[in-house]
C-alpha cells in the first residue's frame, strides 16, 4: 500500500474523530441524567446504533493514534527494514486492541 493512502486515511479518521468524539462528549456532559453511569453505558450497548458508533469511534481513534505513533518512530531516522517492522508491530497492536475493544460492546449487545 502506498503511503499516500495511509495519510489519506489519517485525514479521514481525523475528520471522523472530530464528529464522533464531539457527539460522545456532548452526550456524556449534556445528555440525559446519569449518562456517565455504568448502567447507562450498558443500556447504550444494547442499541445497535450506539454499538456501530462506538466501534467506529474506536477504529478511527486507534488508526489515528497509531499512525501518529508510527510517524514519531519513523522520524528517529530508522532504516527501511526497521520501519517495516515498526509498522507491522503497530498494525498487530491495533488489531488486538480493536478486537478486544469490540468484543466487550458486542458481547453486551448480544446478551
Amino acid at each position: 500500500m502506498k503511503e499516500v493512502y495511509f495519510w489519506l486515511l489519517q485525514l479521514v479518521t481525523g475528520l471522523l474523530l472530530f464528529f464522533l468524539v464531539g457527539i460522545h462528549l456532548i452526550w456524556l456532559h449534556f445528555g440525559p441524567e446519569g449518562a456517565r453511569s455504568w448502567g447507562s453505558m450498558i443500556e447504550r450497548a444494547g442499541n445497535g446504533l450506539w454499538l456501530v458508533f462506538y466501534v467506529l469511534l474506536l477504529t478511527a481513534g486507534l488508526y489515528h493514534g497509531l499512525y501518529g505513533l508510527r510517524n514519531i518512530f519513523l522520524e528517529l531516522s530508522v532504516s527501511p527494514a526497521t520501519g517495516r517492522r515498526i509498522t507491522i508491530a503497530l498494525v498487530a497492536l491495533g488489531v488486538v486492541a480493536l478486537a478486544f475493544g469490540t468484543y466487550v460492546p458486542v458481547k453486551l449487545f448480544a446478551s
Binding site: 503511503e3 499516500v4 528517529l76 531516522s77
Partner: protein
Amino acid sequence: MREGKTIIFRVQRYSPATGEKPHVVDYSVPSSKGMTVLEGLLYIKENLDSSLSFRTSCRMGICGSCGMLINQFPRLACHTQIEELRAKTLEIKPLPNFAIIKDLVPDLAPLFIRHKSIKPYLLRPEAQEIDVPTREFLQSPQELEDYLQFTYCTKCGCCLSACPTSARDKLFLGPQALAQIYRYCADSRDGGARERLSLVDSSQGIWRCHLAGACSEVCPKGVDPALGIQLLKRRMVVESLGHQGKGPSPAAPPPEEQKPRLPVPQFTVKQR
C-alpha cells in the same frame, strides 16, 4: 557614507580538522548606514582576523552562498543590513542541521545530493528532448505563474536549517527538494510527475512534513516551500483517487511552420 556605531560580531569559531572545539570570539566592527552583515564579516577578515572562514560569492542575494544563523535566525549575510537587526551585538553561527566544515561554512553536500535526486530538469516523453532539446514547448503566462515563485530558490539551505523534521530525521528529503519537486510537477512542459511523485511517496518522503512552516518563514527569497509541499500532497491525494492530470504541453511548431507575420503598417507623419 555616514559613520555609525560600533557593533560587536559574536562569531562562532570551529575547526573540526584541527580538533578545535567550538568557541565564540567577539569582534568590534564599525558599522555604517546600509552596511550588511557580510560586509562586517569581510571587514573582520581584512582587518581583524584573516583566519575567519565563511562562504560568499555574489554579494547580492542571488548565489545563496552566505546563509548563516544571525541572531538565532537563518538569513543571507549579504541580504541582511546590520541596522535592521536593531542590536548592538550580532550572534553569528553556521546554519544548523548541517555538518560544519569550518567556522561559518556548512557542508551543503546533502542538500545538493537531495536536490539532484529529484531530477531537477524537465522530463519529457521524448527521451532525446531531455538531453538535447530541439524545440520549445508551449506555456501560457498563467501556467508559468503556477510554479514561478519556486524557481527563485537559490539552494542556500536556510529552509533546511529551520525545518524541525530535518533536524530530527536525517533521511527526510527536506523542504528544498520537496518544493522543487512541486516546481517541476507544476510545470506544464514537464512529463515526469509520476516518476518524481513515486520518489516522495515513501515513509521518509513528503508525509513526514508537519507543516511547521519554518521553511517559508526564513526563506530569504520569499519562496513558500510549505505551500509547495501542501500543493504536492494535494496533487498526490487527487492522483491516488484515480484523477490523472493532463500530460505535458505540446512542442511549439518549428519556425518554418509558423504563419508569416503581418507586414508592419506604413505610418505616415503628417506634414505641416
